[in-house]
């Protein structure tokens, strides 16, 4: 345990920065360059990848609710609402798409306060159940409102140009029909990178520690003066903001909204992406989304067996890596660790049993020493 925290965290920072630069290079230049090799065949990957980027963003929100100790199977609600809020603002009110996406996030997080206040009190399977049902409710809402056209086809124009307020200076040019896929790709990966950077900062700041304290023992946290209700709401609101924005972009990318854009199935998928990626790492949901979505797509030639093979693969993966794909990093670290350090670890784990014995002995010691032998009041009516 005495691994000189300074060097370790310093190394971690450098590895993290290098990974970020590599990832950005890959997403912004590498992939477009690859696609340019054979645009006819590969350009469909722009749409696939921007879908993945946006879904990973929504999963990041789910991951954050996990971080405060809640199993959230309701992110589909906010993705669906986000898509429709943005769509309605653009089509019915003539708002610029880029602003409408922000509004979608804001309205979703306001909504999350209303929903969160009663349901965030619930824990474990109860919270999970309520959020699961909420996705079904969202579907019904969309199906029964005139403003959403009963959840049937709701066509969207490609995003108009974004100019600096009060000027004609174009920040983001208007999307053309042909160029929209590429435009959405760059928008989506930018959002994805911003989301994960924000999440990383959040988790590594004091807020992250507070969330962790909530995840591990809410009662204790509140005895230390942490306003657990507020913190839960804030975390949930951030999660729903991200979900709403992701939904808005996902909908706009499809250019056509309908009620099955996000269903219960999607809410469950977000959860799976987090699990499969790894709940202990910020990038877990990203890795999970990329792996599972690409995996699912690659299986499509298998036709009717696609779902069966996919499900089987998930089960096997869960068995081999119960802590998600990112636990491979832990395994990797163990292999590359300096030998003397490995020895140290081994000698430490060798000591462990002694410790446990001491601990359980202490626990077994009756808490009322024989010297006082009080009469018990327990069991009275």
């Amino acid at each position: 345990m005495k691994v000189k925290p300074h060097t370790e965290s310093g190394l971690k920072t450098w590895v993290g920065l290098a990974a970020l630069v590599l990832a950005m290079g890959l997403f912004y230049f590498g992939i477009p360059a690859l696609i340019a090799q054979n645009p006819e065949v590969y350009s469909r990957y722009y749409t696939t990848l921007s879908g993945i980027a946006l879904l990973s963003m929504a999963s990041a929100g789910v991951w954050l609710t996990f971080y405060i100790g809640r199993i959230n199977i309701g992110q589909g609600v906010f993705c669906l609402f986000g898509a429709y809020i943005s769509g309605i603002l653009v089509v019915n009110y003539g708002m610029n798409f880029w602003y409408s996406a922000i509004w979608a996030g804001v309205i979703c997080s306001l909504l999350s306060f209303l929903i969160g206040l009663p349901i965030l009190r619930l824990r474990g399977v109860y919270f999970a159940m309520v959020t699961l049902i909420s996705t079904q409710v969202a579907t019904l809402v969309v199906q029964n409102l005139a403003i959403t056209k009963q959840g049937r086809s709701f066509a969207l124009p490609p995003p108009a140009a974004l100019t600096l307020p009060g000027t004609d200076i174009v920040v983001i040019p208007a999307f053309t029909l042909e160029g929209a896929a590429v435009g959405f790709y760059f928008a989506a990966i930018t959002l994805m990178i911003l989301t994960f950077l924000g999440l990383y900062r959040l988790v590594n700041s004091r807020i992250g520690q507070l969330c962790k304290s909530l995840q591990q023992n809410e009662e204790l946290a509140s005895s230390l003066g942490v306003n657990i209700v507020w913190l839960r709401l804030v975390a949930y609101a951030i999660s729903c903001f991200v979900g709403g924005v992701a939904g808005a972009f996902y909908g706009a990318q499809q250019a056509n909204l309908n009620v099955s854009l996000f269903t219960v199935q999607d809410s469950v998928n977000f959860l799976l992406y987090c699990f499969m990626g790894g709940l202990n790492y910020v990038v877990g949901p990203l890795i999970g989304t990329i792996t599972l979505r690409l995996g699912w797509d690659q299986l499509s030639p298998t036709g009717e067996y696609q779902l069966a093979i996919y499900a089987l693969a998930l089960i096997i993966l869960m068995f081999i890596l119960p802590n998600g794909l990112m636990s491979l990093v832990e395994e990797g670290k163990k292999w590359f660790i300096r030998p003397n350090h490995r020895q140290k670890l081994q000698s430490m784990s060798a000591q462990k049993p002694v410790k446990t014995v001491a601990k359980s002995a202490a626990k077994k010691r009756p808490k009322t020493a024989a010297k006082t032998a009080p009469k018990s009041n327990k069991g009275r009516k």
Binding site: S205, L220, S223, L224, G225, S376
Partner: protein, 259 residues
Amino acid sequence: MSEILQVKSITKKFGGLTAVNGVSFGVKEKEILSVIGPNGAGKSTLFKLISSFMKPSDGEVLFNGKRISNQAPHIVARKGVVRTFQETTIFKNMTVKQTVIVAHHLRSKANLWGYFVSTPNARNDEKHFGDSADEILEFLGLSSMANEQASNLPHGHLRALGIAMGLATNPKILLLDEPFAGMNHDETMKAVKMVRDLRKRGLTVLLVEHDMHAVMTISDRIVVLNFGTKIAEGTPEQIQKNPAVIEAYLGHEDKEIGL
């Protein structure tokens, strides 16, 4: 002398069971007051009522003359009334130092947004919390375990960690529920000294404890509960001679309680 805490005929019912029944007492500033009683007498419940983790069925608690019952626990903690837990309640996956740093929450000057963007206030807080955590761990003899996972600590040190968390909140009144449970004699005596040192820091300490030797050594006054009712209150000497207390603890045997 002024009473910092007043418990006024407080009652807590769980369905048909009255766990605490019309208990009243006052606590003076910088006093060490122990609450004793047989298992299930309602001591922990009383502490939960004082720290506002439970709402009383009747009666109230005043802190510095102002009512604190029925307020959210984090607000009562903010005012300076903080409890530790009877059970060894910890954040399992945090190191000892991280735990104590988190426990500094009530001293934060920055808000959540400040921590996110790392304002000067937030950076000050972080530095201050780190230093203060080191100081508290030193004070409680936990320095050598600062980077240990909290769940790996031996029992006695877990209790100390509980107290460390309490101290980090900078309380006026600290309520310790069985701080010496599971400790051997030497550890207990060390812990007793520690609680005395808390008083020197200006704290008022309320504790629930079964270790009579420790209770008699440490307390200025003692309140005795039996079946949820207060049956005695007084100095250790008075309590040891009180017939009602002896009856409650030892049935009809004519023995002094204690050692």
